[in-house]
C-alpha cells in the first residue's frame, strides 16, 4: 500500500528548496503542482484512515521512544486536508496577486513551501521535541512572509511576531525539557500512559508552560497583541495563509495536549479559565474589529474574535458527559475548518478590493458592489460563516457548541456566542454598507484578472458548503 505520510512532508520541502535554487520571484508553477500533489496525498490518507483507522509511521524504523514516530488519525487528516485545500486556491491567487500588484515577490514561494512543510510535519508528529522543531520552522517561515513586503510597518510587525513566537516556543521547549526530566521520553505514545492524576508538580508546570506558549502562538486574548499588525500588514495572500492556517497549527497542538497527553491532570477550573479567555477574545476582538478604519485590520481583529470560539471547547468538553463532550469537540473542530476556509476567502477578497480601489480604508470601498460583484459576493459568503448563519460551516460549528452549552447547563457561554454573533454581523455589515454606496466620481477601479477573484470565491463557497458536508467531515474526525 502506498503510504502518503512521509510524502506529505517531503513534497513541500523539496519544491521549496528547488524554488529557492531557481531564484527570487520564481517557483510559482512548481508550488501549484506541489500543493496539488499534496492535496491528492492528503485525500488518500483521509480515505485510508476512514477505511483502516489511525496510523503510526516509525521514521528510521526504530520506533518510539528511541526513534521518532509520525502518527495520523482523523483530526490530523482533517487538518492536513484543510491546509492543502486552502493552500491550493491561494497559490493561484498569489500568482495573480503578485503579477497584478507588481508587489515584490522575491522568495515568497520557497517561504510558503517551508511553511506548508512545517504545518504538515506538525500535524503528523507524535513526538513533543520534534513538534518543537516544526513549530520553529513554522514560526520563522511565517515571520519571513510577513516581512517580505518591506517597509517600516511590516518589518516592525514581523519583529514583534518573531519575538512573540520565540517566547512561545521557549516556554514550550522548557515544558518538553521538564517532561523528559520526569519520564525520560519525548514520545507522545510513551508519555501518555505514564501521566496520571498524581503526576509530580513538574508535569503540571510543564503542561502550563507548553499550553501558555502555544496560546501565545495562537494569539488567544490577551496574547493577541502581535496578530493584528502582522496579519494586517502582510501582503493579502500571506495574511490569508497566516490567519486561516498558521494559528490553527498551535491550536491543534493545544487540543492534542489537553485531550490526549494531559487529560488526567486537566482540571475543570483550568478549562473554565481557558473558556473565559476565549470569551474575552470573542467580545474584545469583535468590538475592536468594529472600530477599525482599515479593511485588513478589521479582518485581522475578526480572527482574534473567531479564535475565541475555538477555546470554548475546553469548558464544554472537560468533565462533561461523553455525548456533550463529543458535540463540543466536533463543534470546535468544525469551527477551525470553517474559519480557515472563510478567513482565507475574506482576506483574499479584501486583497482584491484593495488592489482594485488602490485604497486600504473601508471608506474607499464605495462602488465595489457594482464594479466587483463576484469579490463582494465572496466577502458576503465568507461573512455568513463568520457570523454563523445557516447553512454555512460556521453555523453548524456554533450550533454544535451551543448544543453542548445547553446540554451541560453552562448558559454563560451561550450569551457570549450570541453576543459574538451579533457583533460579527455588525462588522461584516459595516463593510457591506460602504461597498453598496455609489462610487465617487474620482474613484478609479483597476480591472482585475479573473484568477484574483475566483480562488477566493471557491474558498468562500467551500466554507458555505461545509455546513452541508459536515457529517462527512465529522465522520473522518471520528475515525480512530
Amino acid at each position: 500500500m502506498f503510504d502518503p505520510i512521509p510524502w506529505l512532508i517531503l513534497s513541500p520541502l523539496i519544491w521549496a528548496t528547488l524554488a529557492f535554487v531557481q531564484g527570487p520571484g520564481r517557483g510559482g508553477r512548481l508550488a501549484v503542482a506541489g500543493v496539488a500533489l499534496q492535496l491528492a496525498l492528503a485525500a488518500t490518507l483521509a480515505q485510508q484512515i476512514i477505511a483502516g483507522g489511525a496510523r503510526v509511521y516509525a521514521v528510521g524504523g526504530w520506533g518510539a521512544p528511541l526513534g521518532i514516530d509520525l502518527a495520523a488519525d482523523g483530526l490530523s487528516a482533517v487538518m492536513l486536508l484543510l491546509t492543502q485545500a486552502v493552500a491550493l486556491p491561494l497559490a493561484f491567487y498569489a500568482r495573480a496577486y503578485f503579477a497584478a500588484h507588481a508587489a515584490p515577490l522575491r522568495y515568497f514561494w520557497p517561504l510558503t513551501g517551508y511553511l506548508l512543510a512545517a504545518m504538515n510535519a506538525l500535524f503528523l508528529s507524535a513526538d513533543v521535541f520534534n513538534i518543537y522543531v516544526t513549530l520553529e520552522l513554522l514560526g520563522l517561515a511565517a515571520v519571513g512572509l510577513v516581512a517580505v513586503a518591506g517597509g517600516a510597518g511590516p518589518v516592525s510587525a514581523a519583529m514583534r511576531y518573531l519575538l512573540a513566537t520565540l517566547l512561545g516556543s521557549g516556554a514550550y521547549l522548557l515544558g518538553v525539557a521538564l517532561l523528559y526530566g520526569v519520564y525520560g521520553s519525548v514520545s507522545l505514545a510513551a508519555l501518555a500512559p505514564l501521566i496520571a492524576a498524581d503526576a509530580p508538580t513538574a508535569v503540571s508546570l510543564a503542561a502550563a508552560l507548553m499550553l501558555l506558549g502555544l496560546m501565545l502562538k495562537t494569539a488567544l486574548f490577551p496574547f493577541h497583541f502581535w496578530l493584528p499588525p502582522a496579519h494586517g500588514n502582510a501582503p493579502a495572500p500571506v495574511s490569508a495563509l497566516l490567519s486561516a492556517l498558521v494559528i490553527k497549527a498551535s491550536f491543534y497542538l493545544i487540543l492534542r495536549l489537553w485531550f490526549d497527553l494531559f487529560a488526567p491532570i486537566a482540571s475543570v477550573t483550568a478549562a473554565q479559565f481557558l473558556g473565559a479567555l476565549g470569551a474575552g477574545a470573542v467580545i474584545w476582538g469583535s468590538l475592536l474589529a468594529l472600530r477599525q478604519t482599515h479593511l485588513k485590520m478589521l479582518v485581522a481583529y475578526s480572527t482574534v474574535a473567531q479564535v475565541g470560539y475555538l477555546f470554548l471547547i475546553f469548558p464544554l468538553a472537560t468533565g462533561a458527559a461523553a455525548e456533550v463532550a463529543a458535540s463540543a469537540w466536533q463543534g470546535g473542530a468544525l469551527q477551525a475548518v470553517a474559519h480557515g476556509l472563510a478567513k482565507a476567502a475574506m482576506f483574499a477578497a479584501a486583497g482584491a478590493m484593495i488592489a482594485a480601489t488602490g485604497r486600504d480604508e473601508i471608506a474607499g470601498l464605495a462602488g465595489v458592489a457594482t464594479r466587483l460583484p463576484l469579490t463582494l459576493f465572496t466577502f458576503v459568503l465568507a461573512g455568513m460563516t463568520i457570523m454563523g448563519l445557516p447553512p454555512s460551516g460556521g453555523f453548524s460549528a456554533k450550533w454544535l457548541l451551543l448544543g453542548a452549552a445547553l446540554a451541560s447547563g453552562q448558559w454563560w457561554w451561550i450569551v457570549v456566542m450570541l453576543a459574538g454573533g451579533l457583533l460579527s454581523a455588525a462588522y461584516v455589515f459595516k463593510v457591506l454598507r460602504q461597498a453598496f454606496l455609489p462610487a465617487e466620481e474620482a474613484a478609479h477601479f483597476k480591472p482585475l484578472p479573473r484568477t484574483l477573484e475566483w480562488p477566493a470565491f471557491l474558498l468562500a463557497l467551500a466554507s458555505l458548503l461545509l455546513g452541508l458536508w459536515a457529517s462527512e467531515m465529522l465522520n473522518l474526525l471520528g475515525a480512530a
Binding site: 517531503l10 520541502l13 535554487v21 521518532i68 520563522l140 516581512a147 517580505v148 521520553s185
Partner: protein
C-alpha cells in the same frame, strides 16, 4: 503604568522561577531509560559516537528539519527588501598583516573542518562543527577584505546552500524503497551518514557564513 507593568512581570517570572526550582528538586526517577537503548543499538547505527548516532540516525528526522530551519533563516534574511545602498558591496580594505594571516589560515581551517567531519563518527565532532569552522574561514576572509558580502547570491551559490538539504532528502527518500523514511539498511548506515554529513558540511559552512555575509552588506555599514 510602566512601573506597574515591570512589577507585574517581575513578580510573575519570580514566582515561575520558584515553582520551577521547587519542581526540579522534587523529581522521581524516570520511567523510560533511553541511554541504555542507545547503547544497545549503537552497533546498528553505523557510527561509534552516541550523540552522532542520535543526531543522524535515531533522531535523524529532527536534524533534517533543523537544516531546513537554518536554510529558512537565511532565506528570510534574503527575502527582506534591501534599500539600494548606492555603492556595490565592496570588501573593506584591511591591513596586509590580516590579509596574509587570512590567506595562511584558510587552508588550515578547511583541513580542520575535514578532520572534524571525519572525527564525528567516533568522537565529538561532525557536520555542524565542521561547517562552523568553514563559516569562520568565510567570515575571516570577508573581514580581511578578500571575500565580498553576499547581497544577492547567484545560482551557483544558491545551489551550494541547498545541496546539503537536498542530498539529505534524497537519501531519506531513496531509503523508503527499502523500508521507512530514513531507515538505513544494515551495513550501509555508516557510509550513507558520511555522504549526508559531507554534503551538510559544505552547505552548513555556506549557510552559517551567509548569516553573517548577508547582514554584512547593509547601508548602515557603508
Amino acid at each position: 503604568m510602566k512601573a506597574l507593568l515591570n512589577i507585574a512581570v517581575l513578580s510573575l517570572t519570580g514566582a515561575l522561577g520558584l515553582v520551577l526550582a521547587w519542581s526540579i528538586l522534587d523529581l522521581p526517577a524516570s520511567a523510560v531509560r533511553l541511554p541504555e537503548q542507545v547503547t544497545a543499538q549503537l552497533d546498528m547505527s553505523g557510527v561509534a559516537h552516541p550523540v552522532t548516532a542520535v543526531l543522524l540516525n535515531f533522531r535523524g528526522y529532527d536534524t533534517l528539519l533543523e537544516i531546513a530551519v537554518l536554510l529558512l533563516a537565511l532565506l528570510g534574511m534574503l527575502a527582506l527588501p534591501r534599500q539600494a545602498s548606492g555603492s556595490k558591496p565592496r570588501p573593506v580594505p584591511a591591513s596586509p598583516m590580516l590579509q596574509t594571516l587570512a590567506r595562511l589560515l584558510t587552508p588550515l581551517m578547511v583541513l580542520v573542518a575535514g578532520y572534524v567531519l571525519w572525527a564525528g563518527a567516533h568522537r565529538p565532532g561532525g557536520a555542524f562543527q565542521a561547517g562552523a569552522v568553514l563559516a569562520g574561514a568565510g567570515v575571516l576572509l570577508h573581514l580581511a577584505g578578500l571575500l565580498p558580502a553576499w547581497a544577492t547570491p547567484g545560482r551557483a551559490l544558491r545551489a551550494g546552500l541547498a545541496t546539503g538539504l537536498l542530498v539529505f532528502i534524497a537519501v531519506a527518500a531513496t531509503l523508503m524503497t527499502q523500508g521507512t523514511l530514513l531507515q538505513y539498511p544494515p551495513g550501509w548506515a555508516g557510509a550513507l551518514i558520511l555522504v549526508i554529513e559531507a554534503s551538510l558540511t559544505l552547505s552548513l559552512g555556506l549557510i552559517l557564513a551567509g548569516l553573517y555575509l548577508v547582514l554584512a552588506d547593509s547601508k548602515v555599514q557603508a
